[in-house]
């Protein structure tokens, strides 16, 4: 249009050009060009052109042209058209016109010139009174424009108006014929023409004409009027419903002809009319509302408005009115108690009152609005956004101002309350499914905005709390370390305690959230913390003061303590707990803390508990959002995982790892010569039963750093198990994390933590073994008497003043053999080993334990060998030696570490070489050469080394060597 316009505007000689066009067109302008031209013609011009010649008429009749107009109106549907085509094709097939008919239709749909209907249509078109009127109308402007020598399209409005006014009478005449619509219109009325429209290929022009014929008079009437109240539509239609209908149709129709110069202007006019009408209708509606005439006026005007432009405006009216009538500007502070806690009961009651008020209102809406409009939803949505969203947002603000924890607690609680609120509003009937789900999504949509902030807060608060805890713990212990000494419990009864503790931990975990949700994060600290802070003063005095104080003065920096603490000390501690724990969980925690307090300088179970509890609270709070579908649920899930990850990182990296490092440091600083074990003299050594390794007596000897370390491993293991329980209960059982998903960060970080723990254990153990072996070597050197395996001969002993009671005469019959038990040193060494080997039982993996025990066993074997090579053995002492070796063997075989038994069996066999009488030196040599006796444990050189330790070696050497190496006498001489 604009191009065409532009062209014609440039052309001054307008009538000439038009003549030319018509002449050329008549003569045979190529159809292609004509087809391009018609695209840019407004509808009236098209009609005019159609009358120029048969050819022009054909071009105008092209279906596509009209399809485009229909598309502009937004009522054409290609899908429907295709469907129609299919149906007609099938029908034609049945009528056995077959392919030809189909082809024809296809052809027609493209060109429609040879359509059979065309002539009829055309006739219709020509015969239709409107059309006649149109034709005359069209002719006149043409004449005017011709006479005015002006372009048709540049007719000034007033001019045009004048011209249209001149048509007024004709229109009146025409309108009178509307009284008999049937005569006038073949099959449709202006009201229904749009809704009756069918998309059909090949009939677009016909369909368009149907609409045009019905609506054009009203349209052109309307757009030309100044006083809209005088519009034909309002005169012709009296019922507001019909008026709304026709206005709607006109607004659709107004977009049909986008070529017309006045197109936009017309459109605006139509919409102004609609607005006017709408506001009038709204006024009526309001009036009806005020009169509470719901079923009469209100309903009627609601329908009017709905048919005009949907329900938006009248629902708005309802909402505004509702909000005006009910003032819901509440003070968010009112929902907080004096302590600053969010009072969810108040909030709930407010919401339920609100819900019932909304319920009443929506009942009215249900009655007034047709069901398909979903007025209720829109209304509730509006009201929700206006009232509750504002309120909840300001509640959050207030909570944040008061206390961030209070905000964290408030957030999910408001959500629960709102869910309840929505639940109240939902109808029970199944048919309203859509309504129910939409209602649900209202709340979710609202929370979608704030959940990010909430989750971030949750995470950062947790992190800050955890870091703070760890830091304060570290500070606290640093102070304690310098000031006090620590007690280290023996490990023997710990296993069952651990099981108990874990059991209750699990039980408490299984409890519903409601119990623990009442306690704020911080309350977790109050009761158990007593134990850690008060312990230094409460510790019972140590029993063997001299050694302890000595070692204290030597090594204050390592916090040297002594071992074998009397159990009773803890009972007194228990009495000093002033804050009684309130839950079973905490009670158990306090008991456990009492039992394990000796090591609270490194790891704190209590700290771990607090952190886990905090994490659990966080996750519990977030959990509420998990069931929400879509973004919120996913984010909540992610955050649960993130919280777990940061829990593990902080607990693992900042706490456990540091603890391990400290313990390792202590182990490294430990020197056997500086510290000593408990005084051995005063202690009644328990009889160790080598077969089952049970120590029958309570007092045990432990190496302090290793004992600490073992405790550390125990606690580490406990923490790990707690994390595991937490992981299982909170994350996997709720399907937050898939245990087998190796990409999941939670699973990975848990694994990392476990790995770190294992590495720590391994490092510590390796150092621990060194320390322990150093201790054993030290004991061998210091405790073993040289006479143990080489008792003094009878005659010498008589002369010894140290044993006056032993009369040579009394004991002359070989007294030394009377003692066949293991020596003291053997018992002590075995007990020491046994205690330490069992320290870790149950607290670390079986494989680690095996490696630890085997390594200890092998090192022990080496240590024994080294030790034996420094002693001298006599035939008489060999019995004692064999007793010791048997004792070691039994101890080792009691460990059930298969790889170790051959070593100690070899030692046993080795013991025999000292049993052989010196007179049998030849046989001794033979025996020594028989390597199979020693199970391949010893090299011949080693055996030779050992046999040199015989007390009578100088005497037997010659014979032995001769047998062993085949030396002849002369060689030695």
């Amino acid at each position: 249009m604009s191009q065409f316009n532009g062209h014609s505007n440039d052309n001054r000689n307008h009538d000439k050009s038009l003549k030319q066009v018509s002449r050329v067109a008549g003569r045979g302008i190529p159809r292609v060009i004509l087809q391009q031209v018609v695209k840019y013609l407004p509808i009236p011009d098209l009609l005019r052109l159609a009358q120029v010649s048969k050819k022009c008429c054909d071009v105008v009749n092209v279906d596509e042209l009209w399809v485009q107009k229909l598309r502009n109106m937004g009522i054409w549907s290609d899908d429907d058209a295709r469907k129609m085509l299919k149906i007609t094709t099938q029908e034609d097939d049945i009528q056995s016109n077959g392919r030809q008919a189909e082809r024809e239709i296809l052809f027609n749909s493209n060109f429609s010139i040879e359509d059979n209907d065309t002539d009829d249509e055309w006739d219709d078109f020509k015969q239709a009174p409107i059309e006649k009127n149109k034709v005359t109308e069209i002719k006149e402007p043409t004449l005017i424009s011709f006479s005015d020598n002006a372009d048709l399209n540049s007719i000034p409005p007033e001019n045009k108006e004048m011209h249209i006014n001149s048509q007024e009478k004709k229109k009146e005449k025409l309108l009178s014929s509307f009284n008999n619509p049937k005569a006038l219109l073949k099959e449709s009325s202006p009201l229904e023409v749009i809704s009756q429209f069918k998309s059909e290929y090949g009939h677009a022009r016909r369909e368009f004409m149907k609409i045009f014929r019905n609506l054009a008079p009203f349209y052109y009437d309307l757009v030309d009027l100044i006083d809209l109240g005088q519009a034909l539509i309002f005169r012709y239609f009296h019922e507001p419903e019909e008026q709304a209908q026709i206005l709607k149709s006109l607004s659709i129709f107004s977009s049909a002809d986008d070529i017309d110069v006045n197109h936009l202007e017309y459109k605006a006019k139509v919409s102004t009319t609609i607005e006017m009408f709408e506001s009038a209708a709204l006024q009526e509606l309001e009036l009806g509302l005020e009169n509470k005439d719901y079923m009469g006026g209100v309903k009627r005007y609601v329908n009017v408005l709905i048919s005009l432009d949907g329900a938006k405006s009248c629902i708005d009216l309802f909402t505004q009115k509702y909000l005006l009538e009910n003032d819901y500007h509440l003070d968010p502070q009112g929902f907080f108690s004096e302590q600053g806690h969010f009072n969810s009961a108040d909030f709930d009651s407010f919401l339920s009152a609100f819900a019932s008020s909304i319920g009443e209102q929506s009942e009215i809406l249900d009655n007034v609005f047709p069901p398909k409009v979903q007025a209720k939803i829109t209304f509730i949505e509006e009201v929700f956004n206006e009232v509750i969203a504002d309120l909840v947002s300001s509640i959050f603000e207030v909570a944040k101002e008061r206390n961030i924890v209070s905000y964290l607690n408030t957030f999910p609680r408001t959500y629960i309350a709102l869910l309840k609120f929505i639940d109240n509003l939902q109808t029970k009937s199944a048919q309203d499914k859509c309504y129910n789900t939409t209602l649900g999504s209202i709340v979710d949509q609202f929370y979608e905005f704030s959940i990010d902030i909430y989750l971030e807060q949750e995470l950062s608060i947790f992190k800050a709390y955890a870091k703070d805890e760890v830091r304060s713990f570290n500070q606290q212990t640093a102070q304690q370390e310098t000031a006090t000494e620590k007690l280290y419990l023996s490990n023997i009864t710990k296993e069952s305690d651990k099981v108990d503790f874990l059991g209750s931990f699990k039980r408490v975990f299984a409890k519903p959230f409601s119990n623990s949700s009442k306690s704020e994060i911080n309350t977790g600290l109050s009761s158990p913390s007593i134990s850690s802070t008060s312990t230094p003063q409460l510790r019972p005095a140590t029993t063997s003061g001299s050694t302890t104080s000595l070692s204290l003065s030597v090594l204050p920096e390592t916090g040297t303590g002594r071992i074998g603490t009397p159990r009773g000390g803890f009972m007194t501690d228990m009495n000093n707990i002033t804050n009684l724990p309130t839950t079973e969980f905490e009670a158990q925690a306090v008991i456990m803390m009492k039992k394990l307090e000796g090591i609270n300088t490194l790891f704190s179970l209590e700290l771990a508990l607090n952190l886990i509890k905090a994490a659990r609270n966080s996750i519990e709070r977030i959990k509420i959002f998990l069931r929400v579908k879509g973004q919120i649920g996913l984010e909540a899930k992610e955050h649960c995982e993130t919280i777990f990850v940061s829990l593990v990182n902080i607990l693992g990296g900042d706490h456990v790892k540091v603890g391990f490092e400290k313990a390792l440091q202590r182990l490294k600083e430990y020197h056997i010569n500086k510290t000593r074990l408990t005084e051995l003299d005063g202690v009644n050594l328990g009889e160790l039963n080598p077969k089952n390794g049970k120590i029958n007596h309570a007092p045990t000897l432990t190496l302090e750093p290793l004992a600490i370390f073992a405790e550390l491993v125990n606690i580490g293991d406990l923490i790990q198990q707690m994390l595991h329980v937490f992981f299982e209960e909170e994350l996997t059982s709720r399907k937050l994390v898939d245990r087998n998903d190796f990409l999941s960060s939670a699973v990975n970080c848990k694994r990392k933590f476990e790995q770190m723990l294992d590495e720590g254990v391994a490092d510590g153990l390796s150092r621990g073994i060194d320390v322990l072996m150093e201790q054993i070597d030290f004991m061998f050197i210091t405790v073993q008497l040289s006479s143990d395996y080489n008792p003094l001969p009878q005659s010498l002993r008589i002369a010894q003043p140290s044993s006056p009671s032993l009369s040579g005469l009394k004991n002359r019959i070989g007294a030394p053999t009377n003692n066949v038990g293991p020596t003291q040193v053997a018992k002590k060494v075995v007990e020491l080993l046994s205690v330490h080997m069992r320290l870790l039982v149950g607290s670390t993996e079986k494989a680690t334990l095996d490696v630890f025990q085997q390594e200890l066993g092998v090192r022990f074997f080496a240590s024994i060998c080294k030790h034996l090579k420094t002693l001298t053995m006599s035939v008489a002492g060999s019995i004692t030696l064999i007793s010791d070796l048997n004792y070691y063997y039994n101890f080792i075989s009691g460990l059930k570490q298969k790889p170790l038994t051959p070593y100690f069996g070899g030692l046993k066999a080795l013991g025999q070489i000292y049993l052989i009488d010196g007179k049998d030196s030849k046989a001794l040599g033979v025996l020594l050469s028989d390597m199979s006796r020693f199970g391949g444990i010893f090299q011949p050189e080693e055996i030779y080394e050992f046999v040199q330790r015989r007390e009578d070696w100088p005497r037997v050497r010659r014979e032995v060597e001769r047998v062993m190496y085949g030396f002849a006498d002369c060689v030695i001489v």
């Binding site: 008792p791 005469l809 019959i813 053999t817 066949v820 013991g911």
Partner: protein
């Protein structure tokens, strides 16, 4: 060493060394465990070298401490076995009543002892595993006859159900006690019969009444 001697010296009047011999697997270790600790271990392994156990029993009004040597049945080195028998005053020749081969070996063991041990040694033939009656391969009568022919004490025991275990030791220790207390007057000869260095025969006199006994001995 002197410390220990002091602690032990008051516990007993006599110390006897008794050796357990017999084929591998006849139950030497188990009978010893039963006697010394009243334990029984079903899956015991074969003994390496030698193990010792002690238990004090009352004979007449004296405390007799038995130091029992549990030897490895498969020990073949004479040098070692002679060390086992050196100074022993009693020996339990053990066989398995369900295993006739172990019974047949008794003669061999007896010969070994006669060669290597003190001639005055008290021998006792012990048929172990008497609980396995249904598997019996050595009739009691036959063993009894063999014992009386060779002047051995005889008893059938079960380490598993503890039948006759204490009795066996009680019997042999009583016999030893009687034999050696009768010899006390001949202690000089006895002394000489001991192996060269003579420290392993274990007849110890309590320090309290040592004064009188001492003179007897020397």
């Amino acid at each position: 060493m002197s410390n220990e001697l002091r602690t032990y010296s008051g516990d007993y009047d006599y110390l006897f060394k008794v050796v357990l011999t017999g084929d591998s697997g006849v139950g030497k270790t188990n009978i010893l465990d039963r006697f010394s600790r009243n334990e029984f271990n079903l899956d015991s392994k074969s003994t390496i070298g030698v193990e010792f156990a002690t238990r004090t029993v009352q004979i007449d009004d004296k405390h007799v401490k038995a130091q029992i040597w549990d030897t490895a049945g498969q020990e073949r080195y004479r040098a070692i076995t002679s060390a086992y028998y050196r100074g022993a005053v009693g020996a339990l020749l053990m066989y398995d009543i369900t295993n006739s081969a172990s019974y047949k070996s008794i003669a061999k063991w007896m010969e070994e002892i006669r060669e290597q041990a003190d001639p005055n040694i008290v021998l006792m033939l012990v048929g172990n595993k008497s609980d396995l009656k249904h598997l019996r391969a050595v009739p009691t009568k036959e063993a009894k006859n063999f014992a009386s022919q060779n002047k051995l004490l005889f008893i059938e025991t079960s380490a598993l159900d503890a039948t006759n275990v204490d009795l066996a030791f009680q019997n042999i220790l009583t016999e030893v006690y009687h034999r050696y207390s009768a010899q006390e007057g001949l202690s000089n000869e006895f002394d000489e019969s001991k192996p060269a260095r003579g420290q392993t025969i274990s007849l110890t006199v309590q320090p309290d009444d040592s004064a009188s006994k001492k003179s007897n001995c020397c």
